[in-house]
């Protein structure tokens, strides 16, 4: 028995590669010449050939099942950050909704308080108008005058409502634009009365605006904070969607 392990490594490699047909033509020729004159080398080749054929003769193993993939297999599992991200998203959104709700409710109640005198004033204005209309020599019918005034009263009460929906800083702008409109149309008695009706409410709103401008800086930090919170919630939502299970 030739101990294959005792062969020079180069010879062992050559014999092994020769069996696989992996030697160059020249190397194969050289080896064959040596095999002709070295019986030990020949015996080593035979032993090696026996081993290789034994291993190659191992029966093929049948696959126990198909290894095809199903759609569910190839779904990428959700990122580890997913539960944290979704929690943060819910939290940020809830905070945003809550603070927006509180701000809306508080500004509604605030503006309702401011709107009450305006409504009273417009009612007074109407009474004044009737007095003026009765005393005037102009051929203006009461009905027409009333018809003209009604929207004016509505405008007076509507102005604060407008400030509720919009940001508080918009309040003065709305009333400021109403004021010149009223003063510029003072030609007829009806319009004069209308101005009278609007006048006091404008003054109240104007005073409010001045006060608000004094207290609040041009950009409300609460509004900024809320915008940041909203943007953060949106960003978290995007990140959460990206980290979910996917293909």
């Amino acid at each position: 028995l030739t101990r294959l392990g005792s062969l020079p490594p180069r010879d062992l490699e050559r014999l092994s590669a020769y069996l696989d047909g992996d030697l160059t033509l020249q190397d194969a020729k050289n080896l064959e010449a040596r095999l002709g004159r070295e019986p030990d080398l020949r015996q080593a080749l035979d032993e090696l050939r026996l081993v290789v054929s034994a291993v190659r003769g191992l029966p093929e193993v049948r696959v126990p099942r198909n290894f095809t993939l199903r759609g569910a297999d190839v779904t990428r599992p959700a990122s580890k950050a997913f539960p944290y991200l979704s929690f943060a998203t819910v939290l940020a959104t809830a905070l945003f909704v809550l603070t927006t709700g509180i701000r809306t409710v508080s500004s509604v109640s605030l503006q309702l308080g401011a709107a009450a005198p305006a409504v009273e004033l417009s009612a007074e204005g109407q009474q004044e108008l009737f007095r003026d209309a009765a005393g005037t020599s102009e051929p203006t019918s009461e009905a027409a005058a009333f018809g003209e005034v009604a929207p004016a009263g509505a405008t007076a009460t509507r102005t604060p409502v407008g400030t509720i929906v919009a940001a508080p800083t918009q309040g003065p702008a709305g009333t400021a634009s109403a004021a010149p409109a009223g003063t510029s149309t003072a030609s007829s008695l009806v319009y004069g009365a209308e101005t009278g009706a609007l006048g006091p409410s404008d003054e109240t709103a104007g005073a409010d605006a001045v006060r608000a401008a004094r207290i609040a800086p041009p950009v409300d930090p609460v509004v900024v904070a809320q915008a940041v919170l909203g943007a953060g919630a949106l960003l978290l939502l995007v990140l959460t969607v990206r980290s979910r299970r996917r293909r």
Binding site: L1, R3, L4, G5, L7, P9, L12, E13, L15, S16, A17, D20, D22, E47, L48, L50, V51, V52, S53, A54, V55, R56, G57, L58, P59, E60, V61, R62, V63, P64, R65, N66, F67, T68, L69, R70, G71, D73, V74, R76, R247
Partner: protein
């Protein structure tokens, strides 16, 4: 449809196209896994894991032999499986212990192997097969892998190198040394069995 087209479709997320590749290669993949891990269950797990990993990392395939690329993933999955097994040795001993030829239990490969020989020939063949498997399992992992790839799966040296991620020179020297070790182990088995385990001449090559 050719392999390149199936790979391109699979890359675009077509699981059905990938499954056709799976069906074409699963036999070699499973045989490699079975011979490296030495047991059917681990081999099935490693094969499934490898195909899943291959699908997810299809973009990592940069041309060349797709089979070699795939078998390299299978090989790595098998090494992972072997490492896991080393961490829980109690289980592995039972799974790999096939050293008792007189054992009456049905072995996994008896179920898997397809033979249509006479009972005597089959018994002798089974004995030789067992001896070779035992010797194969006794080789260091990288020696066993190179023998399986080159001699059992009949890959050429270039593909073996691709599947092992080593230069061809390394494949050649490892294969030669692995074969020499197998020869010594088989000779020892023959002596131990009183000549029962013979390596018959003229086996199918």
């Amino acid at each position: 449809m050719d392999e390149a087209a199936l790979i391109a479709d699979a890359r675009r997320g077509d699981v059905e196209a990938f499954n056709r590749l799976v069906l074409a290669h699963q036999s070699k993949a499973f045989n490699l896994a079975y011979r490296i891990t030495g047991d059917g269950e681990s081999a099935a797990d490693a094969t499934q894991e490898a195909f899943l990993s291959a699908y997810r990392n299809l973009r990592g395939y940069r041309g060349g032999s797709f089979r070699a690329w795939l078998l390299r993933i299978v090989t790595n999955a098998c090494y992972d499986e072997l490492r896991r097994r080393k961490r829980r040795p109690a289980e592995s001993l039972e799974a790999v212990d096939e050293d008792s030829p007189s054992g009456d239990g049905v072995r996994a490969e008896d179920v898997f192997f397809s033979t249509n020989e006479s009972p005597e020939a089959s018994a002798e063949r089974a004995e030789v097969t067992r001896a070779i498997e035992r010797c194969l399992n006794g080789l260091p992992d990288e020696f066993r892998t190179v023998v399986v790839l080159a001699d059992i799966l009949a890959l050429d040296y270039a593909e073996v190198a691709g599947a092992m991620g080593t230069p061809i020179g390394t494949v050649r020297s490892r294969l030669a040394r692995a074969r020499a070790r197998l020869r010594e182990c088989l000779e020892a088995s023959r002596e131990l069995s009183g000549g029962q385990v013979r390596l018959a001449e003229g086996r199918p090559t």
